[in-house]
Assembly symmetry: C2
Homo-oligomer: 413 residues x 2
């Protein structure tokens, strides 16, 4: 077992054993924050309203409206009856139910992840999960960023706790005196959070999680007519996330790549996260291929979180893309707008997980119950086949449950 | 780390290192089977056709037809366009794609799990996963049960390998000389298989899995008018699976429970798996509650894999059930028919996982790509909000990707 795993398990065990007290101790130990209570008060919510600027409020509300539109459409699709009569007297249906208790995790750091609050909080609001909890680490003064509070309140989340790191995941997975235990935990985080999510998801008494996490990625496929400045800007926007961000360009000529590199150097001068970007770009790759088909083949193998098609007639390639979290089409669709305001969810599978996982949708905040209705006529129709199959599988108590009823029908009509 | 985990990890490591050779060695070591090749031959498929009786063929084909009907309806629902214009010039869509390579695991044992082959193989066929592999342990003579082969062929699965246990899961997760690496593994199994699935699913280089597994369960809610013989038969059918099966009855009186107990003793006499059933029943619970509402409250807390409502007007309670894998309504819907022939999938969440997981559907064999289209007008509309939000989050390279384009639009029109 590696060190991170052992230490994370220790934190989880402490929180299971000592609840709030452990959580407060970790805040002191790791973040030098002294907390006397974990839950954000009404007064703190109220203050946030006054701090957030009108311009910010308008932008947050716009992003919320966009997400809401898309979430409502997803929900309507799910609610479409999936009831089908498979043969006379036999119907199969799947009905959705909101997961009862969900926990949302928002990482701390220098800037508030307002958009992530919306991406997790909005679908949860639309689905109407009965219990909705949010954990996020406070600053040194024990305060939560007012923008986070404002966005959370917009999503109808009223229970916000000042807890970060593995201890936040443990608190939501097992519950403490003040933090309710939840059924499923959503949200990004550092390696401690990721490890803690993995551990609690393996424990049947813990909590399910949204999806496995890895470093964020962008792959841009650009043809000769693409604007090198736009391509450079999109690569840079991904690179500023983290030194481990994956940034890949697939183009049709060395000349085009040179133009992109020049544009990167030019734009980089003015960017505040230059340091992070330069480290991330050191791990980046720029590849020349013969044609767009070859580019798509490579992209499908990589299965990027974000795929940008800066090519002529991008629509014609969509059906050939088999693995990607999200595809952005054409020059006017920078990944940035997908992060904030298209209405789509920005929580997407990374690290090759797009081969099997999907981006977050309202369905992730629900589960489905299979409902099976069989009438007397239905049982007469399908029962005899069930008897044969149960016999073949050597399960005669299974067969008996049908035979007994069929005998009853013959006897009593 | 526990013993099972260490030993399973050892098996996985051996298969990663030595491929087919390791798999064949484990077959010798654990099952005393000597194999010279792992893949089932055409001749073996051909032989199975002749061994399977006409009656069995008809029943298997009927179950297949039922499942196909339900799967096709699910697929049609998924293919319904989920494209929405969130504002002028901005559309969000989710398109489904089949997972490229799937692996199905069918456990061995005394009787062939024909129905499980159909439950995994049919949705995979309908979804059209390009690579579909099935692993199942051979008998002492190195042969696969002909019923398994017949059912697999009906599902269009042509690559079947004679491998069982943790080594089968490892082979599919990492690939060997003869067994292709897959992206996602489906299917039930013993504790070795379950542990191996958990381990490979935690490795980004391994494979995703269908859902976590625990012992199978049934919960019957019966009112005073329910037929005690039917209730007894349903409880017995679950109990025969495994000594760890969970069997729960919630009723409205001690008298009713006594009648069920008598019926169990009577029916048990004739059942071949009496031994297993008696052990499972020792862990069973029969509870009296005040009314059906209280019964449903308890059932929702337990979140059973199978819930049978043997009550008057069962339809009226469906919406109150928040946690269950599958619900069977009324006297003519024994769980047995759901195992084989209603058309619904019998792979369902156990062990409380119904609180967050759903039974298998065609969607589990696919993933969804988010497709975002933004026109010039669209970017003018949403871009400024994205700029504000990127600034608030301190991500100015994100902002730059939008600003650059908006400046280009202003300049060039």
């Amino acid at each position: 077992m590696n060190d991170l795993l052992i230490k994370t398990q220790d934190i989880i065990n402490s929180v299971k054993l000592n609840g709030d007290k452990a959580v407060m101790n970790f805040a002191k130990q790791f973040d030098n924050v002294f907390l006397s209570q974990l839950m954000v008060t009404d007064a703190e919510f109220y203050d946030s309203e006054n701090i957030v600027s009108d311009e910010a409020k308008e932008a947050i509300r716009f992003a919320k409206k966009q997400l809401e539109t898309v979430c409502m459409s997803q929900l309507a699709n799910i609610k479409n009856s999936n009831k089908i009569e498979s043969c006379e007297g036999v119907t199969c249906e799947r009905q959705s139910r909101p997961i009862e208790k969900v926990g949302l995790y928002i990482p701390g750091g220098s800037a508030p992840l307002i958009s992530t609050v919306l991406m997790l909080g909005l679908p949860s609001k639309i689905v109407n999960n009965p219990v909705r909890v949010l954990c996020t680490p406070p600053n040194r003064e024990g305060k939560i960023n007012p923008y986070i509070l404002y966005a959370a309140k917009l999503c109808g989340i009223e229970k916000i706790y000042k807890v970060g790191g593995a201890q936040a995941i443990a608190a939501m997975a097992y519950g403490t005196e003040s933090i309710p235990k939840v059924d499923k935990i959503f949200g990004p985080g550092n390696s401690w959070v990721t490890q803690a999510k993995q551990l609690v998801s393996q424990d049947p008494k813990g909590a399910a999680i949204d999806m496995p996490a890895g470093p964020s990625e962008i792959l841009v496929i650009a043809d000769e007519k693409a604007n090198p400045e736009y391509v450079a800007a999109d690569l840079l926007s991904q690179a500023e996330h983290d030194v481990n961000s994956q940034v890949i360009l697939i183009a049709l000529s060395d000349e085009f790549i040179s133009r992109v590199k020049m544009a990167i150097q030019e734009q980089l001068k003015k960017l505040s996260r230059k340091n992070i970007i330069e480290q991330a770009l050191n791990n980046s790759r720029m590849i020349v291929v013969r044609d767009i088909s070859e580019a798509i083949l490579k992209s499908n193998q990589f299965a990027p979180e974000h795929l940008i098609l800066q090519v002529e007639n991008p629509e014609s390639y969509v059906e050939k893309i088999s693995n990607a979290g999200a595809i952005f089409l054409g020059p006017w669709a920078p990944e940035t707008v997908g992060d904030y305001v298209t209405g789509a969810n920005h929580v997407l599978p990374t690290y090759g997980y797009a081969k099997t996982y999907s981006g977050l949708s309202v369905a992730d905040f629900m589960k489905f119950i299979s409902i099976q209705r069989v009438s007397k006529i239905g049982l007469e129709r399908i029962g005899p086949y069930a008897e044969i199959l149960a016999s073949l599988e050597g399960l005669d108590a299974h067969k008996n449950a049908v035979s007994l009823r069929l005998a009853g029908i013959i006897k009593n009509g």
